[in-house]
Symmetry: C2
């Protein structure tokens, strides 16, 4: 069974037009399918990422108190910045040992994502921060107010908030410790989490020796097989139309695109109805935000349910479920070499 949708059609057409171009950087792509990581992530015009905001966000990120009284977990528990930016679990373990429903994503380079969550239900890192604090799986606090109350009782946090937001709050005058500021500081810190200078980035900037021969063949195969039709742009997650978007605007694709493969049964890929579960719109069954691929070699296991343990298998699954292709093991190895070249310095 094959299913279609308009975005895919559109990009396939664009892609076909470009197919006669040479793949590699000097060829002058009309559209930047392959892009080196920019020096910084985009940010909302009212929230320039100052050192003070980032410092406050970093402290909050590692402080279990952010997640409520008695929490032993901090944000870093599921988004471990000492590793790939995730927890390397299929599903995360939240408060009281409860298991999450979908796999935690890496936070490295997250500032380039336009919508957050696997179903795109948060339109900014700020919104997602506040949403996390209301989720009993993640936070022990009953609500954002309880967290803000707690932080406002700390002289150090009062000082850090005042330094990060010297103009005070638009709503409450001079009260710097607020939910809005908390969210802005966290988002500013997250936007600073860049993992630059991957072998791929060095290659894109002109170092022809930065990629192995296998990775170069993999980069070509990534295009030829069809992966690039969706996984393109800065984060290999499709177009990033910028912060002007409303809730849920983003780049979504069907997964699985072809139903009934052996992988679907083996890895229970169709158990979760994706964005439909959030919107209830039958047209969004099995629609997912296209996930970013940078640092993918560090973030096993794979897919929304974390059921695929290794990258070669993830490549086979994608080729079959999305493009109805069986890849040779050599091609799988090459694509994995290319994907491994996307690991930046963290």
């Amino acid at each position: 069974m094959q299913r279609q949708q308009s975005w895919r059609q559109f990009w396939k057409s664009v892609h076909a037009l470009l197919a006669c171009s040479l793949l590699f950087p000097t060829a002058g792509w009309g559209f930047d399918y392959f892009q080196a990581l920019p020096d910084r992530a985009p940010f909302p015009i009212d929230t320039p990422p100052t050192a003070e905001k980032i410092a406050l966000g970093r402290k909050l990120f590692f402080d279990p108190a952010l997640l409520g009284p008695g929490s032993r977990l901090s944000c870093n528990h599921c988004h471990n910045l000492a590793e790939g930016g995730d927890d390397n679990r299929a599903l995360s373990l939240g408060q009281k040992g409860k298991r999450s429903r979908r796999s935690a994503p890496s936070l490295w380079n997250i500032g380039f994502q336009t919508v957050l969550y696997w179903d795109g239900r948060a339109s900014s890192l700020e919104a997602q921060t506040l949403d996390h604090l209301r989720d009993p799986l993640i936070a022990k606090a009953r609500n954002v107010g309880e967290v803000v109350q707690y932080l406002a009782n700390s002289a150090e946090y009062r000082r850090l908030f005042a330094a990060a937001f010297p103009g005070g709050s638009a709503v409450s005058g001079d009260a710097a410790v607020s939910g809005e500021h908390l969210a802005k500081a966290m988002a500013s810190f997250e936007r600073s989490l860049l993992a630059p200078d991957s072998p791929f980035d060095r290659f894109m900037r002109g170092d022809a020796h930065a990629l192995s021969e296998s990775a170069k063949r993999g980069m070509q195969a990534f295009n030829d097989v069809g992966c690039l039709a969706c996984h393109f742009g800065t984060n290999f997650a499709g177009p990033a139309p910028g912060p002007a978007l409303g809730l849920g605007d983003g780049f979504y694709e069907l997964f699985p695109n072809h139903l009934g493969t052996r992988y679907e049964t083996r890895y229970r890929l169709a158990d979760d109805l994706g964005r439909f579960e959030y919107t209830g719109d039958p047209g969004e069954k099995y629609m997912w935000r296209v996930p970013p691929l940078r640092n993918i070699a560090l973030t096993a296991p794979y897919f929304h349910n974390g059921r695929v343990n290794n990258l070669p298998e993830a490549v086979r699954v994608m080729a079959k479920t999305q493009l109805q292709k069986e890849l040779s093991e050599e091609t799988v190895r090459d694509i994995v070499a290319f994907l491994s070249s996307l690991t930046g310095g963290i």
Copy 2:
């Protein structure tokens, strides 16, 4: 301790300007502090309230299946339309006997409210419907998608959705059973829940005998004591700026306005920090959406925590905590007579 905020200042000024006007209907108020109930509630321009939408919404409202597989509760459990539109409990009993944190409001005349929930966190009845379906206290369904899936398996619901939304869905083509349509049908039904022709409405339309002498004195006292400064307009819930508002725009007031009264301790009025718990903004501590007063005689117990059992005591509490006034028992009786005249036909 007295606390102030800008809305209150503004309306008090408006009010002072009007103080020299006569109170009663023929006086030609510049601003309609007292308003008879309109013939219909406002609705979004893309959702005209057709009979088919209302019929579908009504069926969903009374169907426990809306709240997920195995639910024995329907919307009507907490918003009992056979009575005052609420459950007459201090706090509601949700799924698995869990108790809600705040008292359920009446749905009668709810279509005139611009923001929903005690803290105003939903900006439309549509948004609130979907929010309710994601709340495990209210719904057994894991998500909106599960509900839509269930409804789409029913031939009767497919027929009702198709009749209510003959144009199909903007997102998914012809699939009429969707989360968007479910929310629109529910909201259309809720907008149809008018309780018109209260004695007050008949009085406002010119029937001088519709109110008792006590109720007339109460109406005057409602103005003189200061209640009308916040409780004015169609629903006695302040200005209703219409559906163009964004999330959370609404008419909020401090409660308690004066801290440290005997009522605050007795009824634990300051335990809940109100809108602050949602936004985390210290300027919104103890801020609440001004609640509507129509049908108030039917919806005891009172206040966000349901701790005040009867209307005379609620009037005393409001006079003291909001306006620092001790009312005579005669004035309390008169105001209660006026408030009782707001009960419409349901």
